[in-house]
Symmetry: C2
Subunit: 442 residues, 2 copies
C-alpha cells in the first residue's frame, strides 16, 4: 500500500470493513510516516510501533473471527499526553511526572477502545497543558510553532501520522493548534466528554476535544466519545458522521452567520483580518456583521480569572513542592495566579449565565457565530505557542467551537471558527459543511 | 377566646376548619400578645395589625364561600426580614436598605400564601443576617440574647406571638436561636426551599429554615415550603405532619443514634456537656458515642472559607459603597473576608463531597447524628448572638438539622441537635419524635 496514512478515518474504516486492506497495513503505513517525519516534527511523547502493530493484529483477528466491529475499528488515534492510557507513559509534558505510567485508562480512551480504535501513542503536550512551549514543530513550516497546548495532536494529524487525535482546551488549546496546522478541530460543549483520567487544571474550563483532516471524521470521533457505546450502533455513528452534512439546518436553505469581531479583534494581524473579511464578503447575505452583546465586555478578564483561580488550586501543590521542576513561565504564572481573590473568582463564575444567555439570544437569529480561530498564522520561532485570545471567551462559555482550515495568511493555514449553542454540535457540523462547500467553490 | 395565640398551628388549622373559631379570632389574639410583649421582646421589624386583620378577614370570607382551604389556612406566620414579602418593608436589618419595599413576594412567601397562611409581618434579623446583634431580647430571660441571625423569628414563636416563622441559616442562624429560645427549629437540606427573593450572602450555604413550638407544626410548614402546592393536597400535607411520627424508622423498633462531640466540643460549656451526657445516658443502647471520620478534621475552617469567600462577593459592594452604614463588626469581617484566596475557596468547596460521603457512610449504621445545638445557654448581654460552631459544619455539608428543646442549662433551654442525610427530613422528623417521647418520659 504505502500511503494508507493519508486517507480519511471514514475511508479507512470502510477499507478495513470491506477487506480492501487490513488494520495492520494501515497502522504500518502510519508507522512508516511517523518514523520518517518524527525527527523533524517531534509530535510524539510516547510511540511504540510494536505495541501498535500488535493491537492492529488483534483487530484484524477479531474481524476474521466475525467479531462485532466498532465505528473506529482498526483506526489509529493519537492521545494527548494529559489523558491517560494504561501501560503507556503519561508524563504530562513535565519532569514532575517523569516515569509515570498510569494503571487505568481514562474514560475517553476507554470509549475509543470500545469503538475499536488503536491507541497509537501519546502526543506531545506543552508543560502540563499550560503555556510553556513543547519540542513539537509545525509540519507546515518547521520554523514555526504548532501552537499549544495540544501541539503533538494537531501536528501529527496535519502531518499524516494518524487520521485522528485527542486534544484538550482550557484557553485555546484545541482550536489554536488546529488553526496553525491546518486541520479540523472541535472543542465540544464542556461536560459532554468525560474528563475522568485526565490532568485537571480547571474544572470549569477543561474540555477534551478532537482533531481530524475532514469534518466527517471529526463528527465520527466526537460521536464515539460523547455517545455511550450502548446507545448507538457503529453503523449509526458512521452514518451520523456523514448525515449531518446533508441536513445542515432544519429551517432554511442557506444558513445565517453572525460575524463577530469579538473583543480580541484589535490583536489580530492585518493578514488575518483581511482573510476573514474576504470570506465574509463571499458569503454576502448569508453573513451579517453583528455587535457583541454588552455582557461580553469583560469576558476575556472573566476567563482569565476563572483560569487563574482554578489553575492555582490544581497546580498550587506543584508550585509548593516542585517549584524547581516547573518552567519559569509556569512558575511565574502560578505565583501570580495564587493572588486571585475568591470574590473575583465568584464574580467571574457568576457572570457566565448572563453572558451565555445573551449569546443564546443572538443565536436564535443565526445558525452559528463566525470569527477568527487565531490572531494570525502560526508564530515563527518557539518562544510562544501563540495567543488564545480568540478562544478563551468561548471556552469560558462552555460552547462548542469548530476550527475549519479554510483561510490562509503568510502562506500558512488559518482557521475559520464557528461557534454554536451548548449541545448543538450536530447543527454546527452541518453548518460547517455548508460553509466549507461554499468557500471552496467561490 | 383570648389565648388562641398559645395553641399549635395544627390545632389552629383544625379549629378554623371546624369553625370552632375564625382566623380573625386567632390573629386578634396573636396581635394582643404582640402588642403586650413587643416593647420588651422587640421581635418585629415590621408589624401592621390592620393588614393582618384584613388578611384574616379575607381568609374567613373565603372559607364562608366554600373556597378550597390550604394546609395553613388562616394561620399567622412571621417572616425573617431578609425574605421578601411584597408591599411590606424589607430592610434586612441594615440602614443600607432603609425604606426598601420589595414589589414581589419571595418564592417562600408565595408558597406560604398559597398554603393559606397570613403573613403576620417581618421579624427582626441581625444586620443582613450576619453577626452584629439586633434589638431583639430573649423572651425566656430578657437579659439574654435571643441568638441570631433569625432573632425575631425564634423569639416571636417562643413568646407565643405566632405559631410559625421563617428563618435563614448560613452558619447557625436557625438552629442557634431555636436552642436559645427553646423552640423547635429545622434547617432543611440546602436547595429544598427556593431562595428566590431572599438576601443572598452565600449561595453554597444560605438555607431557609422554619420555627414552631412542636414537631408536627414544623413538619407541616416545611412541607408547605418544599412541596409544590400542586403536588399534595392540604389534607396530605397535614396528615404527613402527624404521620411521620408514627413510622419513625422503616427497619427497626428503636432508632440508633450516633453521638458526635464534633470538633466544636472543646468550646461547649460544662453545663451543656453535662446536659447532653445525661440525655445520652438515658438513651443507653439506642445511642453510641462515635468518632468523627477523619475527613471532618478541617470542616470548621472549610465552612469559614466558603462563608468568607462568598460573603465577600455578595456583600463586597456594600463595603465599597456604603462602608459608613455598616456596623464595625460587619465592616471588619468583610475587610478580612476580602483577602480570601480563590484557591482556598476552591479547596474548601472541593472537600465537601468527600466529607459528606464519610458522614453518609456513618449514617448507614444510624438513624441520626445527635449533638449539641449550641455551646450553652443564650449568652447574657447583647454583645454577641453566641457561637455557631456547632452549626456551621452541618450547614457546610447541606444536611438537614433539627433543634429540639429537650435540654437545659442555667435554667435556660438548650437544643438537642439531630442531623440526617441530605433529603431525609421525613426520617429525621420521625426519629426526633421518638427521642422526644423517650426523653420526656425517662
Amino acid at each position: 500500500m504505502g500511503d494508507l496514512n493519508e486517507i480519511s478515518a471514514f475511508d479507512a474504516v470502510n477499507g478495513i470493513r470491506t477487506k480492501r486492506f487490513t488494520s495492520q497495513q494501515l497502522v504500518a503505513d502510519c508507522i512508516t510516516r511517523i518514523e520518517r517525519r518524527e525527527p523533524s516534527v517531534r509530535a510524539w511523547a510516547h510511540f511504540d510501533p510494536e505495541y501498535a502493530m500488535a493491537e492492529a493484529k488483534k483487530a484484524d483477528q477479531k474481524q476474521d473471527q466475525g467479531g462485532k466491529l466498532g465505528p473506529l475499528h482498526g483506526i489509529p488515534v493519537g492521545i494527548k499526553d494529559v489523558i491517560d492510557a494504561k501501560e503507556m507513559p503519561g508524563e504530562h509534558g513535565s519532569p514532575i511526572f517523569a516515569q509515570r505510567v498510569p494503571k487505568e485508562d481514562s474514560d475517553a480512551v476507554i470509549q475509543l477502545k470500545n469503538a475499536g480504535a488503536i491507541i497509537m501513542g501519546k502526543t506531545v503536550t506543552t508543560e502540563m497543558a499550560n503555556l510553556a512551549p513543547s519540542k513539537t514543530r509545525n509540519p507546515r513550516d518547521l520554523k514555526r510553532s504548532p501552537g499549544g497546548s495540544s501541539s503533538g495532536s494537531a501536528a501529527s494529524v496535519a502531518d499524516f501520522h494518524v487520521p485522528l487525535a485527542l486534544g484538550t482546551q482550557t484557553g485555546g488549546s484545541v482550536i489554536r493548534p488546529a488553526s496553525f496546522n491546518g486541520v479540523y478541530g472541535l472543542k465540544p460543549t464542556v461536560g459532554t466528554i468525560s474528563r475522568n483520567g485526565m490532568l485537571l487544571q480547571s474544572h470549569t474550563l477543561d474540555t477534551i476535544g478532537v482533531y481530524a483532516r475532514n469534518l466527517a471524521d471529526l463528527a465520527i470521533i466526537n460521536n464515539c466519545l460523547i455517545v455511550k457505546s450502548t446507545d448507538s450502533t457503529s453503523e449509526e455513528i458512521l452514518e451520523q458522521g456523514h448525515k449531518v452534512f446533508k441536513n445542515w439546518s432544519k429551517n432554511s436553505e442557506t444558513p445565517k452567520f453572525a460575524f463577530l469581531e469579538t473583543p480580541a479583534w484589535p490583536e489580530a494581524d492585518v493578514g488575518a483580518k483581511k482573510a476573514i473579511e474576504t470570506a465574509i464578503t463571499s458569503l454576502s447575505s448569508a453573513c451579517k456583521r453583528e455587535r457583541l452583546p454588552d455582557p461580553f465586555s469583560e469576558i476575556i478578564d472573566y476567563h482569565a480569572a476563572v483560569f487563574a483561580a482554578e489553575n492555582s488550586y490544581y497546580y498550587g501543590p506543584f508550585l509548593d513542592n516542585h517549584s524547581e521542576l516547573l518552567s519559569k513561565k509556569l512558575r511565574d504564572r502560578l505565583i501570580a495566579s495564587k493572588a486571585t481573590l475568591a470574590s473575583e473568582y465568584i464574580s467571574a463564575l457568576n457572570a457566565r449565565d448572563k453572558i451565555y444567555h445573551s449569546l443564546e439570544t443572538l443565536l436564535n437569529d443565526y445558525d452559528a457565530v463566525l470569527c477568527l480561530a487565531a490572531t494570525g498564522a502560526a508564530p515563527i520561532g518557539f518562544e510562544t505557542t501563540g495567543s488564545a485570545i480568540f478562544n478563551g471567551l468561548w471556552t469560558y462559555l462552555g460552547v462548542p467551537c469548530l476550527s475549519l482550515p479554510l483561510l490562509s495568511t503568510e502562506k500558512m493555514p488559518l482557521g475559520l471558527q464557528l461557534v454554536g449553542k451548548r449541545g448543538n454540535e450536530r447543527e454546527l457540523f452541518g453548518t460547517a459543511n455548508w460553509i466549507e462547500n461554499h468557500l471552496k467553490t467561490y
